[in-house]
């Protein structure tokens, strides 16, 4: 299996161009699905690859619980026996699993707490909270999905803009965007090279909901002004960007996109454009990642099966 086992660790780099271009050139729905799919497969392959390298690493440890045959010279000759990489893979895999477990746990905790906070209210799809701080979000739930919005935000919006806000949040819930977001969160923790994909999906999911809302209320401009006003009244919340970082943040980009024409729905971009090339590059990277980790896994299983005295 040789160096193939390490490929899935770096192949996420092939998805960087599409993560950058999808926002501009693909319909947000296509972009969200494509990037989430690519990120999930690549994260799974990269974790599997870490696990395979870890087997080699643990075989070196004295007193390991593995069968003796696994540290045979023949096995070592067949698997990439590298003391440093093998041992480094053990804490790396531990860190990945811990980070993913922590992300899952936090996700569940925030949702549980938010639902509990709304416990005394009538069981409706929309919870309006009397609160000066302007915020709104979609809260997915097992029994009931809810849209949470404060009076502080609603009072700044015209009736049509309120409809746009609710349509946006309902679109998040109807399409299950929280699942996409959770998947890319976990992927970004499994392999740091996948972080640009997470950033891209967080943005395209918002754009997806914006486009759905624009269709529902029948006016792109209304959605744009709802987003703009909401962002301006809640500007007290600090943005998670570096000061002096010149690129415009997500909110102005969303507003600008809504003030422009509606994005075309294409299934798969042509190869002869930059975005097409980037998409095919990511697809090839994903396929290579899947194949090399499958190849490594099969080789490893065969070798170890042969080396294990039964």
């Amino acid at each position: 299996m040789g160096f193939f086992v390490f490929l899935p660790l770096v192949l996420p780099l092939t998805a960087w161009p599409i993560a950058r271009l999808a926002e501009q050139h693909l319909h947000p729905r296509t972009a969200t699905r494509l990037l989430t799919g690519v990120a999930t497969v690549m994260a799974a392959c990269s974790t599997l690859c870490l696990a395979l390298v870890m087997v080699v690493g643990t075989a070196q440890l004295p007193g390991n619980p593995l069968p003796d045959g696994w540290s045979d010279p023949e096995v070592r000759a067949a698997v990439p026996y590298d003391e440093i990489v093998g041992k480094a893979a053990i804490p790396a895999l531990g860190a990945v699993l811990a980070a993913c477990a922590r992300a899952l746990w936090r996700h569940g905790r925030v949702r549980r707490r938010a639902h509990r906070a709304l416990a005394g209210l009538p069981a409706t799809g929309v919870a309006v909270l009397p609160e000066a701080a302007p915020y709104a979000y979609a809260l997915p739930g097992r029994q009931r999905d809810r849209v949470v919005v404060t009076t502080g935000l609603l009072e700044h919006l015209e009736p049509a803009e309120r409809r746009a806000l609710f349509a946006h949040e309902r679109a998040h819930l109807a399409a299950g965007h929280h699942r996409f977001l959770l998947a890319v969160q976990l992927a970004a923790r499994a392999n740091p090279f996948l972080r640009p994909l997470r950033t891209a999906v967080v943005y395209t999911a918002e754009r997806w909901a914006d486009e759905e809302a624009a269709q529902r209320v029948g006016s792109r401009r209304t959605v744009a002004s709802a987003i703009g006003k909401a962002a301006l009244v809640s500007r007290g919340t600090p943005a998670a960007t570096l000061a002096g970082f010149a690129a415009p943040g997500p909110v102005p980009r969303r507003v600008a996109a809504l003030l422009g024409p509606a994005p075309a729905v294409r299934c798969w971009p042509s190869l002869f454009t930059s975005v097409g090339l980037a998409a095919w590059c990511a697809a090839a990277g994903t396929a290579a990642s899947a194949m090399s980790s499958a190849n490594s896994a099969v080789t490893m299983v065969l070798i170890l099966y042969a080396a294990t005295p039964l």
Binding site: A103, R106, H107, V110, R113, A114, R116, A117, L118, A119, G120, L121, A127, V128, L129, P130, E131, A133, Y135, A136, Y137, A138, L139, T150, L153, L165, H168, H172, H177, L181, V202, A205, E206, A209, R221, A224, S225, G228, K229, A230, A231, L232, S234, R235, T237, A239, A240, T241, A243, G244, F245, A246, P248, G249, P250, V251, P252, V255, A256, L259
Partner: protein, 127 residues
């Protein structure tokens, strides 16, 4: 295990707060803790009622005024107000809540506000 028990206890507190608040709102005017305890009937100790009322006071959900040797309590906010307060605490406790809850808008960067105003003015000008 202890965490599980704690969670059960915390949920109990939330429900008790809602019960006490509802009882207070059924009163004509300010009510004493003893009246609330009587109103709620079985099971609740006087000190528990006092504890819950004090907690509601800290949350701004009730007000109190001295009446003789004890306090008279008045509800100041309804269920929605209490829910808003609890939600605020949930959001404040999560440093990167963006990671979990897809909020309608995120914060604005240094130049974003100017850019946003320009965009909105432009769109208004086209009307």
């Amino acid at each position: 295990m202890t965490e599980h028990r704690q969670r059960a206890r915390r949920r109990g507190q939330g429900e008790l707060e809602a019960l006490v608040l509802r009882a207070l709102r059924e009163a004509d005017g300010p009510a004493t803790a003893g009246w609330v305890q009587e109103r709620l009937g079985g099971g609740l100790a006087y000190t528990t009622v006092i504890t819950i009322l004090t907690r509601l006071l800290a949350k701004g959900a009730v007000t109190r005024e001295r009446a003789g040797r004890s306090f008279a309590w008045t509800p100041d906010s309804d269920q929605a107000g209490l829910a808003a307060h609890r939600m605020r605490r949930v959001l404040d406790a999560e440093s990167d809540r963006e990671a979990v809850l897809a909020s309608f808008v995120t914060g604005l960067g240094p130049d974003d506000e100017r850019l946003l105003r320009e965009l909105l003015d432009q769109s208004r000008g086209e009307d």
